[in-house]
Subunit: 288 residues, 2 copies
Amino acid sequence: MINRLVVIGVGLIGGSLALALKKAGACREVVGAGRNPLHLNKAVELGVIDRFETDIGRAVQGADMVVLAVPVGAMEASFAQLRGHLEPDAVFTDVGSTKGSVVEAARRVFTQVPAAFVPGHPIAGTEDSGVAAAVAGLFQQRRVVLTPLPETSAEALAKVREMWQRVGAEVVETGVAHHDEVLAATSHLPHLLAYTLVDTLARMDTSEEIFRYAASGFRDFTRIAGSSPQMWHDICLANRNAILDMIRRFTEDLEQLAVALRTEDSAEILGRFTRAKGARDRFKAGKP
Amino acid sequence: MINRLVVIGVGLIGGSLALALKKAGACREVVGAGRNPLHLNKAVELGVIDRFETDIGRAVQGADMVVLAVPVGAMEASFAQLRGHLEPDAVFTDVGSTKGSVVEAARRVFTQVPAAFVPGHPIAGTEDSGVAAAVAGLFQQRRVVLTPLPETSAEALAKVREMWQRVGAEVVETGVAHHDEVLAATSHLPHLLAYTLVDTLARMDTSEEIFRYAASGFRDFTRIAGSSPQMWHDICLANRNAILDMIRRFTEDLEQLAVALRTEDSAEILGRFTRAKGARDRFKAGKP
């Protein structure tokens, strides 16, 4: 049971976690922290948080669990603001989509990563952002990746693990660098491709008609292009080496497909599509 | 009212059209035509067609409406097989995703495109293929694009238009080349990107784990990679110039984004994502 949860950044993820923990009866009080009182007032009205503070140092007083749910580019500033204010037995974690950048930020602020800090990433979300989109069921049967470091205390890790399990998530552990490489492939690159496709099309002379002729395939393919630009800007910069590597791999493969098209290489085109369909069908069936 | 409908190629689209017309009471008899008797027998069992012929020339005898629903690469062979067998008052149309290649195939087979032929393309489908996936509601509120030529008879055009309206579709008309350019952007390129992404990921050493960490965004983004490889192989070759042009545009934009990442050009990254989100949000709201 969490006595006082502090959520720094009450958006889709932070808000959903607060709602889910309350609904599960796993948390007595939720304090929201952020810069915008209007926004935080709305979170109170929606019943997502009980009260709020705009000063992070004040917010974390008396808290046993602190969750940083700000865009990854804002993690370092949040660490700096809570430094020296956490209770001795408080545990803190984050929900950032990149883990290397968050761990580096923690190291810069605290000199070494605190034993009470557990880097984490719930693989859940929708293209909608903001507290109005928060729902208690967001983490049900979703994976949460924790990337504990050698300096992370076993007790802190256990508490964060339990928190996510209480809201229905499946918790897995992996290394920081490995997390960032895998997510670059499976999440960051697809977002960049979706953003780029929509932007490419929107800037064409016939864009109005293009979107008019778009069907359900296009709608699903580009859904993630509706995601928060600021959040994805931060992720891109935070994980740019792994992302650039994935862009390079993808572009090479797309160029090879273009060559196959140009040379009317039927076998090559059919081979690529068949391989991809096989992998996609296995993914769909849950047997990757 | 159609007296005898012949569907050449009883798959997802041809089968769904047959089901929908029957359900609407817009068709007395449906004859399926194709090469595979086992497959056609299944279509009879599913109630999609009333009977079948494996000889196209025999199938179209007595038909007032013939729909070619084979992959675009098989259109020319189908045209050749029905040539000389159509009733004098029969109308025929196709459902191919590319229109230039189908019109060229018709011209090669018939010397000039017959007045009774109306090139068409229902913008509907799912990633599933085959007659087992056919559903009567597939065309409800979907667009069907007809690309009549100067030689197309007004009567034939009206009959095909009415057929699609009877199954709930919204019929629009445009030029052949314009259709192919727009669809290259909105459908063909996204399919190629989805196939390529899944193939890129599947061939990485860590592919098993990559798919394990994939979330709903990835699932939706790659749904179309489950589409029929043969169908998409045919589309790629049939519309390769327009598709290659779109690949070039897209690759340039992706490369520019990579440069922005490499140089940590925040404004450029944020600008691109914001523009894309705006276009996607307008598309979602139905205001492109």
